[in-house]
């Protein structure tokens, strides 16, 4: 039996903040879930199965979210799955949920991903010293900064391109009421003037630490008929690779390139830059925008990415608006960040993105990556039902 059509008919998210001290983890998830269900015109009782994702266990000290959240998520008496792929988890979780519909197993699946960064310390969690080893690890920024430097060298990028991305995303976030950061007046100059944290990454080029959640309702073709604006899923893909291997390309990982190639093929896309109307790409540090533009095939390797960014091509009015929501650079509840990318892509093709809507968006990319650039999750959603 062929893959069944599936569509996103409900998207919900919290107002992402540095600290949501007023709600528990369950309460945070329910805010997103209730909004997604309202958007879908459904109740929890109608849902067949629930898929939950969150950041790595040490990040929050919660090892079994499925166990303690089952009741609050409305999962009693229903299948409940938990997905775990580091920072890409929000994307992978949405893909697992969609696969339950595409496989014909369930008709109405609710998926939710969350994180309360305020209850822990991700920097600490990523830098726990191990015996016998050199304690030089310094969080996610410390991990990715050398690879950003490699990209700059390989592509001979001007050093201000990262600041262009940061200024763009922070200004896009002003149009998104849910975004964590609403920093008025961010400019390339102000980003360049911010403190150098993990050289070559500056403070304003890094994502914030956020509390937040995102939920999606994914349904089969019959159920989607009731929706005025379903976002049809045209392709989904996940790929993984080893964290360390001799000559592993850390700037443009094989798994990322393979995932993109498989995604475009599945979605029947031959020229991504021409056929994708906007993209929500996982950019926790500004330079990952040009890096992923190249890896995803929107631009040529070793320079096409930064040229596209520098030319304004990824701005709201560019050829490929990227992260119109403000992206990870403006809101980063890590466990939910991937699903936010997937959900924002769906909002765009549903014409429901509000002030950060790209006019006439018909096809959009949602993208997430995690670990040491070793887990990738992507989907393409469209306003029309896929023909394949």
């Amino acid at each position: 039996m062929a893959k069944q059509p599936a569509a996103v008919v409900g998207v919900g998210q919290t107002h992402h903040r540095a600290k949501r001290l007023d709600v528990s983890m369950a309460g945070l998830c329910r805010e997103a879930i209730d909004r997604a269900l309202e958007d879908a015109g459904m109740t929890l009782d109608e849902i067949d199965a629930i898929v939950v994702g969150k950041a790595p266990d040490l990040f929050e000290g919660v090892m079994m979210p499925e166990l303690f959240l089952a009741e609050a998520l409305g999962a009693a008496g229903k299948p409940l799955l938990r997905v775990h792929t580091a920072g890409s988890v929000g994307g992978s979780t949405a893909i697992v949920a969609s696969s339950l519909v595409q496989a014909g197993v369930h008709k109405k699946v609710l998926t939710v991903a969350y994180e309360k960064q305020s209850e822990s310390n991700a920097m600490w969690a990523l830098s726990v010293p191990l015996p016998f080893n050199m304690p030089v690890h310094a969080g996610a920024g410390g991990y990715f900064a050398p690879h950003v430097r490699s990209y700059i060298r390989r592509s001979e990028a001007p050093t201000h391109v990262g600041a262009i991305v940061a200024a763009k995303d922070r200004n896009n976030a002003l149009k998104n009421p849910y975004a964590h950061l609403h920093n008025e007046g961010t400019t390339v100059e102000s980003v360049l003037a911010s403190q150098m944290l993990w050289d070559p990454i500056r403070y304003d080029e890094t994502c914030p630490s956020s509390d937040g959640a995102c939920a999606l309702v994914i349904v089969d073709e019959d159920t989607a008929k009731a929706s005025p604006n379903p976002a049809w899923i045209h392709g989904t893909v996940m790929r993984s690779e080893a964290t360390t291997a001799a000559e592993r390309d850390q700037v443009n990982p094989q798994a990322s390139r393979d995932a993109a190639a498989a995604l475009w093929k599945q979605a029947g896309i031959t020229s991504p830059i021409d056929e994708i109307d906007c993209a929500e790409i996982y950019v926790p540090f500004s330079w990952f925008e040009p890096m992923w533009l190249e890896s995803l095939g929107f631009a040529e390797e070793n320079g096409g990415g930064w040229r596209l960014t520098e030319s304004g091509g990824t701005a709201m009015d560019g050829v490929l608006p990227v992260n119109c929501s403000g992206g990870v650079l403006s809101s980063n509840p890590i466990g939910a960040s991937g699903m936010l990318r997937f959900g924002e892509a769906a909002l765009q093709v549903r014409g429901a993105a509000g002030e950060h809507q790209v006019d006439g968006a018909r096809k959009a990319l949602g993208h997430a990556y995690g670990g040491g650039s070793q887990f990738f999750a992507m989907w393409v959603v469209g306003a029309e039902k896929p023909s394949n």
Binding site: R20, L21, D22, V23, S24, M25, A26, G27, R30, D45, L58, E60, G61, E71, A72, G74, A76, K116, S118, E119, S120, N121, M123, W124, A125, S127, V128, P129, L130, P131, F132, N133, M134, P135, V136, H137, A138, G139, G141, G142, A145, P146, H147, R149, S150, R153, R154, Q195, M196, L197, W198, D199, I201, A242, T244, A245, A246, E247, Q250, V251
Partner: protein, 316 residues
């Protein structure tokens, strides 16, 4: 000598938990010496209250004070308590159906032998002298003739958060191959392994090649001189940090190795560190050596001309 090296690791963090309005109400009650349950849409009183109703899925808003006395509906004996359990002496965990509740609560029951606990026995709350709005504010004990001793309410700010210290103690075991690497370091040598399939030399050795899965056995001593492929200048202080910033954390591709190791660069201004810079290992005094990559205190420039980009571009 054992084949592998191991060392204890403690991963500890004081996580915080925002309780939200429902569990916050319950914990506020404990702090003030009352047990608060929540009434479900079907009329059942559940202690602690459920955050969301199991039928309507709405947030619980109907709170009910229940009695500090109740009946044991089931129990289990804890003959050897472990660290941080409610008591440091044998005790029972019991399901206690509090008077006024419809669902029992699981908690500790302070009795000295399993002969003193039975299903159906009557118990009462015993409040901690210092109550902070946590489940440990309360334990149960057999009902006394005079009944439970009431306590004064402590504060008027509702409890909205708790601190949950987590401490994991475990033994970190290095693989036999890694152990050989660390033993080499204890002799002032840097020892890797060559993959028989792809011929790549891994430092530290990985037991199996990450690229093709082949088990690795052939030991290769690599040079103590190498090339900085790429690096980061860490300017950020953070919890648990061992080295005071700013410092340069660099990937050093040792001559003879096919994968870079992450290490510290000193002996040069951070701003002067470059991709391609040639560096050499600077060892700690031999008296301080142990089985650790920390035997190499840092790497510093050799003063030689930088390596050609082509020699390391495939390692970025």
């Amino acid at each position: 000598m054992t084949r592998t090296l191991s060392a204890p690791v403690t991963v500890a963090f004081d996580y915080t938990r925002s309780t939200g309005p429902v569990l916050g109400r319950f914990l506020t009650g404990l702090r003030d010496g009352v047990v608060v349950g929540g009434r479900t849409s079907e009329g059942k009183v559940v202690v602690p209250p459920l955050e969301f109703d199991p039928v309507t899925h709405e947030a619980t808003t109907d709170f009910v004070e229940v009695a500090p006395t109740g009946t044991v509906t089931s129990w289990t004996w804890v003959p050897e308590p472990v660290k941080d359990q409610p008591f440091d002496r044998p005790f029972a965990f019991a399901l206690v159906l509090l008077d006024g509740a419809d669902v029992p609560i699981l908690h500790a029951l302070d009795v000295s032998s399993p002969d003193e606990v039975s299903t159906g026995m009557r118990v009462q709350a015993r409040w901690a002298a210092e109550r902070i709005g946590a489940i440990t504010d309360l334990v149960f004990e057999p009902l006394s003739a005079s009944g439970p001793t009431g306590v004064e309410a402590i504060g008027d700010n509702p409890v909205s958060g708790v601190i949950v210290p987590v401490s994991l103690d475990y033994l970190y075991a290095a693989s036999p191959e890694e152990s050989a690497f660390y033993r080499g370091l204890n002799e002032g040598r840097i020892v890797g392994q060559r993959c028989p399939t792809c011929q790549k030399v891994y430092v530290p050795p990985r037991s199996a090649c990450p690229s093709d899965g082949t088990p690795t056995a052939e030991e290769v001593e690599v040079s103590q001189t190498g090339t900085i492929t790429t690096f980061c200048i860490v300017n950020v202080p953070f919890l648990g940090q061992k080295i005071t910033p700013p410092y340069v954390s660099a990937y050093v591709l040792l001559d003879g190795a096919d994968i870079a190791i992450l290490h510290l660069i000193l002996g040069v201004e951070a701003a002067e560190v470059r991709m391609g810079m040639r560096v050499k290992a600077v060892w700690k005094p031999e008296t301080e050596w142990t089985y650790s990559l920390e035997n190499i205190d840092h790497f510093e420039p050799t003063g030689d001309p930088d390596a050609d980009y082509e020699t390391y571009r495939n390692h970025l």
